[in-house]
Symmetry: C2
């Protein structure tokens, strides 16, 4: 095989950077560019065009599967409310649930740095087992690689998961339409602020804990009750801003959020003010956005609020005909501001 | 969550090391200890007990899937005959094929180090696309994380794959029985020696190239012809020594290899002599061991040899009643020596 790097050029023009920068992993515009302009064209005919958080696959012989993967590099590995272990399990479960699937099986691949204390690896594995059991998912296969000291950083975990999509369920951004209500299953900003506070040694009076949790039971409750969920998304990297922008772009609709309705805890609001962050861009890991017909919004909220993880569920906006592809927020004073897709990395290594 | 590392103790006693060492990623005894004594007990009830290279899963409603994952950290990322990209695609395809499955879909999760040239990432992605296309596998979902300079090393790739296990196929170590012929699909030792030579800047006159390739078509040819394949294994980390030891232990049988029948290229033999390596312990990435009834061995070899990747297929040994769990090699002089499971890492970061 002859490799000629000098003459390699990106199939589609990327922003002006010849090297990987942290923002390429941030879940914003740079991440989208990397996938759209480098990975998809380079993969070529072998890649499916619809590289969402989870792929829905038609099994020869019948039935549909959801399949998803995520790598986790969060720093520090242990933070208030969780660690890289439950994050990795919950994150893949949630990506599967967002496609309407019932998550069943998961793989775990570790890349360990030489010198990492065995006790830390053990704790992470215990937490992974507990998180999987709580969500009814089985850990069925895995792999471990070790890299030399200086080529890694403690523990990196990549999980992949498989779920079964029940007959009749059709959850996809293309089903989003004007008139849909935008619901959030609970308070936002907790995971990102918890990790950031721990990393920077900040204290905000009240300890802020990550919201890492599996939301598959909330999703099942909505679907089992016959709520016609059009699309769902868990607002992780890039937060609610990134998730709503992706849906607006994919569906060709406008989205209007109501700032006063956003469930932002006071501690998150205070911390974001101090750190110069927008709570709409901060990562979550136990929350999801559901787009449902407005006439089913109250029923859906009642179902979510009846479960502990959904107790603070809210309608935070609606889908509109105007300004397709653009997300705006209506402020308390009645003005609107545009909520853009974040460019790059607001909080590096948040998951 | 309160975390208490001081009081954590490994559920089952691991060898005397409180920290991760390179050998835990080597595919030998230390790797087996880490899975058996740390991961499985820590995962607890959420883990399946049969953590093989691929899990075979019964789908509710019918059918069987194979599911596998592997992380790749090979250094250097580009080596004679391949790169981390085709290694990652072929490795997961081969793990699926070893369970008798037809590989269909794959996920790709990248952990990139800040500063990695975009051209290198692009080349790797192109090679991945080509390898997937060649094997008839679709890349359907993925993820990218970026770690800061100094916390990574170029590109790490974790692939996971799903295959469908055809009705009637039953490939599992427990089916291995005395009287089985042990076949290898071709020459051994090429991948490990190619990577090692490149890394250490060694020149062996003739360039040795990695054998990285997908073997799923060879496997399909055997199964389609009605060969009753009892078990298969691709001898990657730890080489033929590790794979045969794992099967002997899992099946409770003895295995006798014939040293004179081992297809070891002269260049590999020379390089191993120079480097102090045992070719039986060196990693391969385009070869597999098949255990078939002795009466079908000639037919199986003819099928393999009719295809380019199987042209050098050989019977290299047999399964016996004696010394269950132990692998021996019969030397050219008629003596036998025990082939042990390697303890740890002979060649670090070989895949």
């Amino acid at each position: 095989m002859s490799l000629d790097f000098e003459s390699w050029s990106c199939p589609l023009p990327l922003r002006d950077t010849p090297n990987i920068v942290l923002g390429h992993g941030g879940g914003g515009q740079l991440s989208a560019d990397l996938v759209g302009s480098l990975f998809l064209p380079s993969f070529g005919a072998a890649a499916s065009n619809d590289l969402g958080d989870a792929a829905v696959l038609e099994v020869p012989g019948g039935g549909r599967l959801a399949f998803s993967t995520d790598g986790y590099v969060v720093k520090p590995m242990f933070f208030p409310g969780g660690c890289i272990g439950d994050l990795a399990v919950n994150g893949t479960i949630n990506d599967l649930a967002m496609s309407g699937a019932r998550p069943l099986w998961m793989s775990t691949a570790f890349i360990l740095a030489e010198g990492t204390p065995m006790a830390e690896v053990g704790r992470i594995a215990e937490v992974m087992g507990q998180a999987a059991k709580a969500a009814g998912v089985q850990l069925v296969t895995g792999d471990t690689k070790v890299v030399d000291h200086g080529s890694g950083d403690g523990v990196y975990v990549t999980t992949a998961g498989i779920g079964v999509v029940p007959d009749g369920v059709d959850v996809h951004p293309r089903r989003t339409r004007p008139g849909d209500a935008v619901l959030i299953s609970g308070e936002i900003g907790l995971h990102g602020v918890a990790v950031m506070s721990q990393r920077e040694g900040l204290e905000f009076g009240t300890a802020i804990e990550s919201d890492t949790a599996a939301v598959n039971e909330l999703v099942s409750a909505l679907l089992d009750a016959g709520i016609d969920v059009h699309t769902m998304r868990d607002p992780t990297r890039g937060g609610v801003a990134a998730s709503t922008n992706e849906i607006a772009a994919a569906a060709g609709v406008g989205i209007e959020l109501d700032e006063r309705a956003l469930p932002i805890p006071q501690e998150v609001s205070d911390a974001c003010g101090l750190l110069g962050l927008d709570p709409l861009q901060v990562a979550n890991e136990g929350k999801f956005l559901a787009f449902v017909p407005q006439e089913q919004a109250d029923e859906a909220l009642a179902i979510l609020r009846a479960m502990p993880l959904g107790a603070r569920a809210q309608q935070i906006g609606r889908v509109i005909d105007d300004h397709p592809g653009v997300v705006v927020a209506r402020t308390g004073l009645g003005a609107t501001r545009v909520i853009g897709l974040p460019l790059g990395e607001q909080l590096p290594r948040i998951c």
